[in-house]
């Protein structure tokens, strides 16, 4: 009974604290610009999702640099709040408690939490600060801002940005008689390459598969955008709140079917949904082509014993000329329950993180894409790109993407759960439990009540 008791208790705690509906202290309309801190320095806490390692070190270094530059004025304390999902859950619990002192001054939230954050009424939109001080966002990459803008209004500051790439084993390409300088660019080409790359030993066991990637909903979202299609209705939830997912439309069925057939025909290794398993298979040379985020580049570079190649994310159809990839990663949010002077200090820190030299540091120390265009001209950044020439693919890919509703990406309040539902659908097809069409139809039907409930809850309150 112990485990049940703990779960029930968690439910209780989560639900019991939900008594009073608290008033919003400051919305975008009546921000108290004259708010003065009772004591200096203003202390701000920043919740982020980077566990100990290179990324967390970079966060701490940048925070220390900022605090030094603002000695006696502002002091930033970065706090690791758990991975993205945990940070998100923790923030929800803090909002639920209704107590401002439970909340951080600012928080990093993953891309797919964006719609929820806007609807939470717990944040001050970045646009409020931008409009007030006539902050110029012209140096910021428009294809990155696109994701976080709704009707031209920026709600949060994009911070760590990644895009998906096709990674491949150049040595395996040469060995199989393929030109490593001409990696596949469509699903059909990828299959042809996979047929040549798949290698069996004398006993018929496969020693190398042509393709293998984690069953990760993000990849399906990317294929959809690459085909210039929206992933949810109402203009990817950007005209008004999306009420339906579209991942059971023909283009997505085609992708899932293609993937399932690769596995069925022994050309792809299915390692399931866990990302590290797919990464390990690629690093070990068991899989010759792999889909992953730019964030994995450094890890791959350090681990592989073969020549690493990168290519733009494959297209679904060769005829598509528009479309492109959607940026992933996370952005920075200012919480509106905190005193206005503290929010202003948090905004200062956000601006600092966005500026060219900080972004160059961030880019070269983490591998995330620089948000400020100028960072790519920074000498340290130029050196870095020279050291990781594969990253050039990501830069070109981002710049060649035409920003439209499809490539802005789908905004949906229950996007994290939607991604998970899509993954169940993909996995159902890839493991041969059901045909792609049925699997994705079921997955769409499965998530529908949650979308309805979310929309009901946000329109009703």
């Amino acid at each position: 009974m112990k485990r049940l008791a703990v779960l029930v208790l968690l439910l209780l705690l989560a639900a019991a604290c939900g008594g009073g509906n608290d008033q919003q202290t400051s919305s975008s309309g009546n921000f108290d610009w004259n708010s003065k801190a009772p004591a200096k320095p203003v202390k701000i806490t920043f919740w982020h999702g980077f566990s100990a390692g290179a990324n967390q070190d970079a966060v701490n270094a940048l925070a220390a640099k900022f605090s030094d530059a603002h000695k006696g004025e502002i002091e930033v304390t970065p706090v690791y709040a758990g991975d993205y999902d945990t940070t998100f859950a923790k923030l929800k619990a803090a909002i639920q408690s209704g107590k401002a002192d439970q909340l951080p001054s600012m928080v990093q939230i993953y891309d797919i939490g964006t719609r929820f954050m806007i609807d939470s009424q717990a944040i001050t939109p970045a646009q409020t600060f931008i409009d007030h001080e006539k902050y110029s966002a012209k140096d910021l990459e428009p294809n990155i801002l696109g994701y976080y803008q709704i009707n031209g209004k920026l709600f949060s500051m994009p911070w760590n940005v990644s895009t998906p790439l096709l990674y491949f084993n150049r040595d395996a390409f040469s060995e199989a008689g393929l030109d490593p300088n001409k990696p596949p660019s469509t699903l059909a080409e990828l299959r042809v390459a996979a047929e040549k790359l798949t290698k069996k030993d004398a006993s018929g066991s496969t020693v190398r598969y042509g393709f293998g990637a984690a069953i990760y909903g993000w990849f399906l979202e990317q294929f959809t955008a690459r085909a210039d299609q929206t992933y949810c209705n109402n203009g990817n939830g950007r005209d008004k709140s999306a009420t339906k997912v579209l991942f059971n439309q023909p283009v997505d069925i085609k992708v899932v079917d293609w993937w399932a057939n690769l596995v069925k025909d022994g050309l792809a290794l299915n390692t399931g949904r866990q990302t590290p398993d797919a990464q390990n298979a690629f690093k070990a040379g068991k899989v010759a082509m792999n889909l992953e985020s730019t964030g994995t580049l450094r890890g791959y570079q350090a681990a592989v014993k073969f020549q690493l190649g990168t290519a733009p994310y494959p297209k679904v159809e060769s005829s598509t000329t528009a479309g492109g990839t959607i940026i992933g990663g996370a952005s920075l949010w200012v919480l509106n329950k905190r005193p206005a002077y503290e929010q202003k200090a948090a905004w200062e820190f956000e601006k600092f993180l966005e500026q060219g030299d900080s972004m160059a540091y961030w880019h070269t120390h983490t591998g995330y894409f620089p948000v400020d265009k100028k960072s790519l001209d920074d000498p340290t950044d130029k050196d870095w790109v020279a050291r990781y020439p594969q990253f050039k693919t990501a830069i070109d890919q981002l710049h060649s993407t035409k920003l439209d509703k499809a490539t802005q990406g789908c905004l949906l309040g229950v996007m994290p759960a939607t991604r998970q539902a899509a993954e169940v659908g993909m996995e159902t097809a890839i493991t041969g439990k059901a045909p792609a069409k049925k699997a994705m139809d079921d997955a769409a039907a499965n998530i529908q009540p949650q979308i309805d409930q979310y929309n009901q809850a946000t329109s009703g309150s």
Binding site: L7, L269, Q453
Partner: protein, 315 residues
């Protein structure tokens, strides 16, 4: 024939006796209640009250942060029952329980019997076989996860020299539930061996002696003497490990996250998915699932007591 007076007297005496017994019972009850009070308090705070709250929350719809905001009656239950995957989830839960409880009992008996052998160094083996008991679910699951790894896993490495095609232990819907169950059996085994060994030790030697004098040997000794006398331990393990299995969470979360294609999503995991995972805070629906799970545990336990307890041989 008794006279009326005599009759009245007897009645009075009898009712006085009954009253006495009542008074005694009341005093005893009070003493018992006092002793039970501390644990009752703990149960109330951590079990009964949450159970009640959970039942209440299951009738509420919540806002996007998870606060119960509006009474929706049976809506969450209707939603739950209308989902086609509920059957799959309940089936997964029952199959998982079957796959874990029975093998862990059977293997447990076999190992416990082996450990009764009086040979040199048996103490070492007794300790060794009880060690799984000391492993946390998380540790064991992480290790089994490495064994089962689809690309670079240990198990498939063993199969390779025999030209057996690699098995997608955790990535194929047909084997994933079995793989998670195997991990759970291993986890459960240490405890089962401990309890059953203690049960075997408690069977007095003279019972065996008497049986042997009657001509019982080997298997018949096992079937007619050892097993019946072991039934209290077996019944205890059956009930406890069934409830534990129905509520398994850690190994599923670490090994499969309910996948592939929902094939290891049990009621507890479905509850977790709705309440806490992937940015969800659907506490209403999750509470409804908790009530279904509660009902299932009650029914299964009631069946076990109703059907099997009468076969338990209490000495």
């Amino acid at each position: 024939m008794l006279t009326q007076v005599e009759l009245t007297g007897i009645r009075a005496a009898a009712s006085a006796q009954v009253r006495d017994r009542h008074r005694l019972a009341a005093r005893e009850l009070l003493t018992a209640a006092l002793f039970l009070l501390p644990s009752l308090l703990v149960f109330t705070v951590f079990l009964f009250w949450p159970l009640l709250r959970s039942a209440v929350i299951s009738t509420y719809g919540n806002d996007i942060i998870g606060r119960p905001t509006r009474f929706t009656g049976s809506h969450n239950y209707q939603l739950l029952l209308s989902q086609p995957e509920l059957h799959e989830v309940i089936l997964n839960t029952l199959l998982f329980t079957l796959y874990t409880v029975l093998p862990a009992l059977v293997i447990g008996i076999a190992l416990a019997l082996l450990l009764q052998l009086r040979v040199a160094g048996i103490g070492f083996f007794r300790t060794l076989l009880a060690t799984p008991f000391g492993f946390s679910v998380a540790t064991a699951s992480a290790v089994f996860g490495i064994f089962f790894n689809p690309g670079v896993g240990v198990l498939n490495g063993f199969l390779y020299p025999f030209h057996i095609h690699p098995v997608g232990w955790l990535t194929s819907p047909t084997t994933a539930l079995l793989a998670v169950a195997a991990t759970t059996v291993w986890l459960q085994l240490g405890y089962n061996v401990l309890v059953l060994s203690a049960g075997l030790q408690a069977i007095p030697e003279d019972v065996y002696e008497a049986a042997r004098l009657d001509g019982a040997r080997g298997l018949s000794l096992l079937r007619h003497v050892t097993l019946p006398l072991l039934t209290p331990s077996l019944f205890f393990l059956l009930v406890v490990s069934t409830i534990q299995s129905l509520q398994s969470f850690g190994q599923i979360d670490i090994l499969t996250k309910g996948g592939p294609a929902r094939s290891t999503t049990t009621l507890v995991y479905d509850l977790y998915l709705n309440a806490f995972a992937f940015g969800n805070s659907n506490f209403g629906l999750a509470s409804a699932i908790a009530m279904v799970l509660f009902l299932l545990v009650v029914i299964v336990t009631a069946i076990q007591f109703g059907v099997l307890e009468r076969r338990v041989f209490y000495r």
